[in-house]
Every structure is written in structure tokens, then in C-alpha cells.
Amino acid sequence: MNTWRIARLVAAKDLRVEWRSRVVLNQVLPFAALVMVMFAFALDNDTVLTRVAPGLVWLATMFSLLVIVQRAFAVETADGALDALQVAGVRLGGIFLGKAIALAAQLAVLELMLLAAAIVLYKTEVVADGIVLLVTTFVAATTGLAFVGTLYGGLAAGAKGRETLLPLLMLPVVAPVLIGATRATEAALGTENATPSDGWPWIGLLTLFAVVFGVGGTLAFGSLIDE
């Protein structure tokens, strides 16, 4: 059966797991909110805060991403389901896409919440003409993050002490997203009187990133999780 149907199957399965366990909803969302507060708290200086708010949104997203990805693959490895999936001949590209889709869905919800939090906590206000840029940024970045997360999540899933290997693998890779998304968001929010036009170049980076890891992942996922 074709890769695409597998992807739909796996995505549906992952979302159903979340639906039955409510883990992301009840625990990761509050966690993300907390991270925001903690940052603001550690930085503890309003002018600094508004200045770096966009960066913090993405930092918090990144940490939550870690948690969600960990969870997504803990589900697979807990009882050796990943083996079963491979044997089931479920095309690994399909698994990759499927898990990425489910991940992106959960991330999107999360980011919306974080942005809202940022606007309240850090007094960042959204300028009308930045909206388009903002939305584009979030879509591009989310896709990219979902792909990277799935790719390295799968890689770490096989390894020993995976709960700690994942961050190590992932953070350096997502750094570009962090920068790109931050700059683009700054432009959209007009932080330090940046204008939306400054933002679009970064979108290019984000999109490139998403495409590279999307294609790369679909092709390479198999060889990664195949021990």
C-alpha cells in the first residue's frame, strides 16, 4: 500500500493516542506556558523582555518540541511497536510523514498558545500588516520543526538513554530555525522598529529548511531507525 495511505494511518493513530491519553493537552501546554514565565522571570527586566520576546517564544517552542517528540517515540518504543511497524512493512517514509503530520498538528496548537502568552506577558503587540508574515513564519517553522523532530526522534528512539540523546541531537540542528523564526517574528511584530519586509528573507531560510528535512527525512528515515 502506498506511502501516503500509511502516513494518514500513522498520523490518525498518533492523534488517537493523544486523544485517549490527553498528555500533550494536560501537561505539555502548561509546561510551555511555565517555560515562558520562567524565562521572563529569569530575565526579570521589562525592556529586555519585550526586546527578546520573539526569541523566547521560539526557545519555549523548542523545549516543548523536545518533550512532545520524546513522548511521540516513547509511545512507539515502550512495547517494541517500532519493530512491529518495520516488520509490518509499513513503508518507513510513510511512518515519517505520518508522525511528522501528527507532530505538526500538536505543535501548531502549542505555538498559538505561546504567541498569545507572549503578547500578554511581554506586551508585544501585533501590527496589522505583519500578520501575513507572522502566519507564514509559523507555518514554515512548524513544518520544519516537525520534520526535524520526527527525524531525530526516530534516530534517538533506537539508542540507549534516548530521553537524553534526543536534545543533544536536535538542538544544534534547529538552531537555524530558532534564528530565522525569531528574526522573522521580530520583523512581523516590529520589534526594534524592524519592518515586515526585513522578515521575508528569513522565510526563505525556513522554507528551505523545511523542504530539505522533509525530503531528506522521507528518504533517510528508514536507514536511520533500522538498527
Binding site: 500500500m1 500509511i6 494511518l9 485517549r20 511497536a81 512491529a84 518495520q86 509490518a88 512493512g89
Partner: protein, 227 residues
């Protein structure tokens, strides 16, 4: 009832499994050290042998999970040396662990694994009935099940996959009397319908009665057993 195994199998000339002097390593340890085995279609083969002899490794190799280090291995006409993934969608493996999603219900699990081969709802129900799970248990989360009930669920998932080659690692362990009978009936009818079954087990009386042929695995090699 046979609907669950009705996938048409075109007659194969060569044996379903043909291993010659296969060496396979786990880490640095040769779990299989020159194993040779040939299994014909419709056979129910019992692998016996001491702990750590290499039974699980042998099954995983046939499922394309373990790479062939040396020797030649052909399963269902696919050359595992060339591409061990090619065989996957046609074999079904039940390992020591069940490969279930603990957050999902029994029915959810069977439905998912069935869907990977496009099984119909009717076939799903048939699989559940086969392992005596078409009752209150069908809608209980796997996490809440007892050990034996989980094993039954894993078997139901396997049945729903309608594989051409069934690989089972100690399928009887943990099952109660009726569960064992259900299992034997299932395997026999699968074999009768043209599937091939390989069972690794330490319950020699039980599994011996089921099997059409017995071989012994010792020190990573396969040894014929005189009837």
C-alpha cells in the same frame, strides 16, 4: 472464519525460508554462527533449544530486522542479503514483547495493524473473535489488561495481518488453556490455507504437538532432530 487467512498465495517453487551458513551479529556477538535452515510452504516448524541459543535472532533475521553478516538467506523468494526490507510486508512477527500501544484499546490496536494490510472491519472482528477478545475487553485500554490478555491482543493483531510467513516467539507463554487452544487452531488453519509458520518455544509438549517438524537451535546453529 478462514477469511482472516484468505490472502491468496501463489505457489512457490523454492522453499519459503532458505538459510545457508548464515552468520548474524548483535553488537559484537555472533548470535547466529553458520545457521542453515530450509522450510517449505505449509509447514509448522518448531525451534527449540537452550536460552541464548539464537532462536529469537533467527526469527528476527527471517523478518528482515537483523542484517545477514555472512552466508545466503532467501525468504519468500526475497534475497535478504541484497535487501532485507523487501520481505517485510509479507511476514508477521510476534516477538517476546507484544508491540502494542498501551494507551489505545484492544480494538484500536487490532484495527491499526489490520489497516496496514487493508483488512476490512469484518476481518478485524474475525481476528478479535479468534483470540476470544470480542467481549468487554475489546474496548479496554491495553494498559489495563493482564499479561495474558495482552498476549492475546498481540496475537489478534498478528492474525489481522494475514501474513504469508508467521514467526512466533514463545506464543504460548502467558496464555491460559482456552487461549492456547485458540492459538493452535489459528496456526493450523493458517498453515492449511497455505501460510508457513515458525514457532520458537520452550514448552516442548505443547508446541511439539502443534508442529509438523522440529529443529534444535544450539550455539547459533540449527540442528536437525530425529523424529
Amino acid at each position: 472464519m478462514d477469511s482472516v487467512v484468505q490472502r491468496v498465495v501463489q505457489p512457490v517453487v523454492q522453499p519459503v525460508v532458505a538459510l545457508v551458513d548464515v552468520v548474524a551479529v548483535l553488537g559484537s556477538f555472533p548470535a547466529l554462527a553458520g545457521a542453515s535452515l530450509s522450510v517449505n510452504r505449509g509447514e509448522i516448524l518448531l525451534l527449540r533449544g537452550p536460552n541464548g541459543a539464537g532462536k529469537t535472532s533467527l526469527l528476527r533475521l527471517c523478518a528482515g530486522l537483523l542484517p545477514v553478516e555472512r552466508g545466503t538467506a532467501t525468504v519468500l523468494g526475497c534475497d535478504l542479503v541484497a535487501d532485507r526490507t523487501s520481505v517485510r510486508n509479507r511476514v508477521g512477527l510476534l516477538g517476546h514483547s507484544n508491540g502494542l500501544y498501551a494507551d489505545l484499546t484492544v480494538a484500536d490496536n487490532v484495527r491499526f495493524w489490520g489497516a496496514t494490510v487493508g483488512a476490512s472491519q469484518h476481518e478485524i472482528d474475525a481476528s478479535l473473535t479468534r483470540m476470544g477478545l470480542a467481549n468487554r475487553l475489546a474496548d479496554v485500554q491495553v494498559a489495563k489488561l493482564s499479561a495474558g490478555q495482552r498476549r492475546r491482543t498481540a496475537l489478534a493483531c498478528l492474525v489481522a495481518r494475514r501474513a504469508e510467513l508467521w514467526l512466533l516467539d514463545e506464543p504460548h507463554a502467558g496464555l491460559d488453556a482456552t487461549g492456547r487452544d485458540d492459538l493452535d487452531v489459528t496456526l493450523r488453519s493458517a498453515a492449511a490455507a497455505g501460510a508457513t509458520v515458525i514457532v520458537a518455544s520452550h514448552e516442548l509438549e505443547r508446541a511439539g504437538a502443534l508442529a509438523t517438524r522440529v529443529v534444535e537451535v544450539v550455539g547459533g546453529q540449527v540442528r536437525q532432530v530425529a523424529e
